[in-house]
Symmetry: D2
Subunit: 376 residues, 4 copies
């Protein structure tokens, strides 16, 4: 594969992030195949043309099916609203394209399973946009835990909060419906937290969850009244990992002041590691060693000692940004593709993460402990 | 009541805190009755004498029953290990003494109920050592919530962690037994968190809990092997408040690096308030008001604007310490006593807090949702 | 000396702090002589009586000279406005009393020198209220530096800021005059910073300073106009320590948001230590050792490993407050007195600290480098 | 100008940052002209070829003079070691190219002045890599000050510290020589701080400085002994701005633990703003308004409310990284060029910043107050 042809569907938050990542992946990382930005899809057509020009794509279309049989395209990036992932991904897979899809895979676990199975059967490569787990601070935390830096892991707590639905006066949109949005906070953010928990501690075996729609109705934007919010604003679960460790996860989209608080703490027999995405270039590490009078949480600033930070910047503490994580993710996929290998996390991995958020919702609705294996 | 006679049982961590508080209460607060430090009980007797001299008590004894019928004593402070509170408090109440007891009231909820009922029947006044709820930062947070500063409360999260049992090599003691210590982290720390949650949001209606003994055995100090740890190192619960708000509480005594992390966040429809006891002179406040470009969490340093901070210090940001909270608690009790009023939190209030920790343990053991009303 | 008789002049911020400290010193520290709270002076007399009752003093007076020849009094605590220290301290020394005086010693360096020399000649013991240097976090920092924990010291920076004169509309008072207040920010706060710098790095040899009155007039409180502010709101100096190390010190009383920001950083060849009084129970320590991927500033919470913290509380991270530092200071003086030893910092030490603030002012006024030796 | 041809000299830290910025500028910002990555210069030639391929440049050379007369090239980016800027920039200007040069302009102020004058005379456009002043957090701070959010500015303090020369055992290199490196910490970092101070408060009128080489010799890497360090490790100055405001600036390249601490605080009559580059997505704002009981420093996370953050990411708190600042800088230059306008900061502006660092060095060497006007 001398160079890889790219088709991109969507030009919003994630569409732009994909485009930027494709433009920078090789320049940053070096050992990444060349890409050709072939075809960009957006609606209406003039918007597609505008963004094709801005992002550097050769051609534009307003019909995503144009990408399916375009022989110049190897990868299709799907960055459309979540409700569209399922249909588009299945079509892309059917067309033999590799798929780089934003999270979550789909609105329902059944759809996600179908996507996973279709990709496996077709033998195409996949990548899912769980970009936070590519943060050098995060992968270093995983290495620290694996190396025994905090001893045996004994407890976990994680939170992921934003405030984009905190205002009670925010107008009702399709985001409030089960049919168009599926899960609420769990789908938008909860699965990111799960992807981190899995990297740090491995799979969850069973859990008990609770959830709540704190703003039960929202005003209609046309002023004609209000409509019901069908999905959850907050969700929390007591989880038991397969390793036997207990913990908890919690999410809210109505948490005023939290802008990107994807935070967790891992307790071990010899120390603790903590992280907060709002300070994504820092890791907190406590180790029970040395003089007790000098123990304390260390604030580790990411640096070239935390690969692949050094590919972005040879100086410590100069900081990566949100879009840089997407560059790492994209480069990971492109490199794996060039080698004919699977990338992490692919549809299979993403399905495992997303089982958890659907399990939390099921447990909360039915007020009972659920086993993850029942969602396979 | 011209002056109040004090009898103190115990001279450890809490015994000293009570003694210091009695010595400072009036000098700090002004409108507090005088106290006479009459009789201090410790074992053996020479230790009692030494501490009576150090703390300024007139007399010493090694027999706590000496306090019961001493006519010079109005209040008995009970600061002994938790297993002794029940017997001592009941005896003090029977002797017609007012009781200032450390938390938790007792090892079991049955004992706590008996203490509550006995005090009510005898008509004596009681106070329980939930000192953190007297922090001016905390009471200001309660006022802020009540005044609508963050709108309607929609979610709660709380944690209370220390690391005094984090070391797997720490020797086995009576603290690990149900018979002598009762609950583990829930009893030592969890009830403090509940006392704060109740002040901020009111009572909990029902919950689902999970708990774990992460260090299942501990070495015997005589080197002859190891013994089982019978109570929990960690516990977490999904709680539903009577107001309908959902939330979670969690505690660990095996959380390396946490020294006094009694922390919580209250989410409202118009803002958020956060607190961490490790920075006990600070309050974090976010309000959705004003220019969005200038919104952010404010770090409020406690000051004379947060009564009764000004009684300690007329300058903002100069900080109260742990023992100062005990001074406020003690002064509150003494003042109430002088007026013949009930103080907060008395045995009745403490019983409400402690119902919750026992409910968490019951829920965890039986793997089911429990209602607090069933523990009345 | 079986017990020590105390006379206290003043009942404001510092008067109360002294009273509380005398009441707690032995109870907290144990090996401290008993005190008798003999005579309290305040004006008018009914205020003196009120505070004598509140603070537990046996007698009250409105004439401070009554303390001088009172045979029951061993120590006179001087907590009056700075302009009064000189006359009172000289009178107390002349009467053979030991003197516990608030900082700064006096308005002018000449007065301070006279006080220092009088005390030395009379052979009485003295203590000056540089309470921040008794903080266990601070003394631990000094030990760390001495032990080589950060290698050879190479640089220093310090700041001390508050905002009590930040409001331009604050009324003019005597605090704005050279005659009644002497120096501004340098006298109120700058000398505290110097006391810390001296403990950390030893004496300053020479310096260049600049200073400014940022609010050059203030409104008269009777609405009749405004009056000039004669002393400095801000002052900064480039300092060279006797050891050869360079550094800087800066102070402002017009720094909005700073409530007690007495902060510094000491740079060494192998690490750095930082401190901020607004989080007075924390120390920041960076050491260049171990795996570079895990280096970072450690937040050390004070604990029983940092004597005498454990005398206040046997549990780490539970925090001391402002008044607790005064207890340590007071106990230090009482213990030294009982042993017939000098306490630190006495009038001699305080004179050394205060030379620096006067040197800064002189350098700023004359726009030239000054040597500290010229102020001896 | 339909598209702009780029020639890049250098592929190190800054060379890569320029390349990435050119690749992303239009994709991120939209209204930016297209660029053609024409010719990359590095030595030896195979390294040039490798990086031309990685960064996406059409051609490679090992002779920087090849860029001068290449008609396809409009802008020459100079990212070589500082000692080479002067010759290359003058040659580029002479060839009629626009120049995008890294800071500092040159080793000496005379060289910098010559570059400034040559560019002005030739009429070419210039940009200098003071990337930190393009941070949306910084430009928002400037807007806040201008809008009066903190009242009249009364004081300034700034620091810029790293630890790349903190290790005494680090080998001697050309960086330690006046001939090849010129100034030390002042040149590497100090000028960044000045660029921020000028944006916040305007020009400095005069100053008094001090500086020090704390590691006076360094071991030769061949083990044959050690050599002298000729330039400063630390430098500090008391500055007076043209506006009359006093302040101080300080820099150290031997500050263990500081990785990118470019920090400052601006004091105003109604508030304060603080910033630290190590948390480059945060701004600290204190305002004296509203209820005193709820005042405190606000931590503002950058968001789409702080243009051009939203061009990178439509969600608040998701964070920009170091390379993103270079994208803004690059886009600023490209856009200005397209309009035939001057960009900020150009050689003229950079000369003003760099006057200050040379003035500090002169003042320190000659131990006297210096006026900036004397360096024009």
């Amino acid at each position: 594969m001398s160079s890889i042809g790219i088709g991109l569907i969507g030009t919003g938050f994630m569409g732009k992030a994909h485009a930027l990542a494709y433009r920078s992946a090789k320049a940053v990382m070096g050992d990444v195949p060349d890409v050709r930005l072939e075809l960009l899809c957006e609606q209406p057509f003039d918007k597609a043309e505008k963004f094709a020009d801005q992002f550097g794509f050769a051609r534009a279309t307003d019909n995503w099916r144009d990408l399916l049989n375009d022989p110049a395209i190897d990868i299709i990036s799907i960055t459309t609203p979540n409700m569209l992932h399922h249909e588009m991904a299945l079509a892309a897979i059917a067309a033999g394209k590799h798929v780089y899809c934003e999270k979550p895979l789909a609105l329902t676990l059944d759809q996600a399973r179908e996507m996973r199975d279709a990709a496996a059967k077709a033998g195409v490569k996949t990548m899912v946009g769980y970009n936070y787990i590519h943060n050098p601070a995060f992968t270093h935390a995983c290495r620290l835990i694996k190396s025994g830096a905090i001893g045996r892991v004994v407890h976990f707590r994680g939170w992921v909060d934003e405030d984009y639905q905190a205002d009670p006066n925010l107008a009702w949109t399709w985001r409030s419906t089960l049919a168009d949005a599926g899960l609420g906070a769990l789908g938008d953010m909860g699965c990111h937290l799960v992807s981190m928990a899995y990297g740090l501690l491995g799979p969850i075996d069973n859990l008990v969850g609770d959830m709540q729609t704190v703003h039960q109705t929202r005003p209609l934007s046309d002023g004609t009244g209000s409509a019901a919010v069908e999905n959850e604003d907050t969700a929390t679960a007591l989880v038991r990992f397969a390793s036997g460790v207990q913990g908890s996860i919690s999410t809210s989209r109505s948490a005023w002041g939290r802008k990107s608080r994807l935070a967790w703490e891992v307790h071990g027999t010899e120390g603790m590691i903590c992280y907060d995405q709002e300070r994504m270039n820092e890791l907190q590490l406590y180790q029970n060693s040395g003089n007790p009078a000098e123990q304390g949480f260390k604030t580790i600033l990411t640096s070239p000692h935390h690969a692949p930070y050094g590919n972005f910047c040879p100086a410590a503490g100069h900081q990566l940004g949100f879009n840089d994580l997407k560059v790492i993710e994209c480069a990971t996929f492109l490199s794996a593709l060039a080698k004919g290998e699977d990338a992490y996390p692919n549809f299979n991995d993403a399905f495992e993460f997303e089982k958890v958020i659907h399990a939390v919702a099921t447990s909360a609705r039915e007020d009972r402990r659920v086993k993850l294996a029942d969602f396979d």
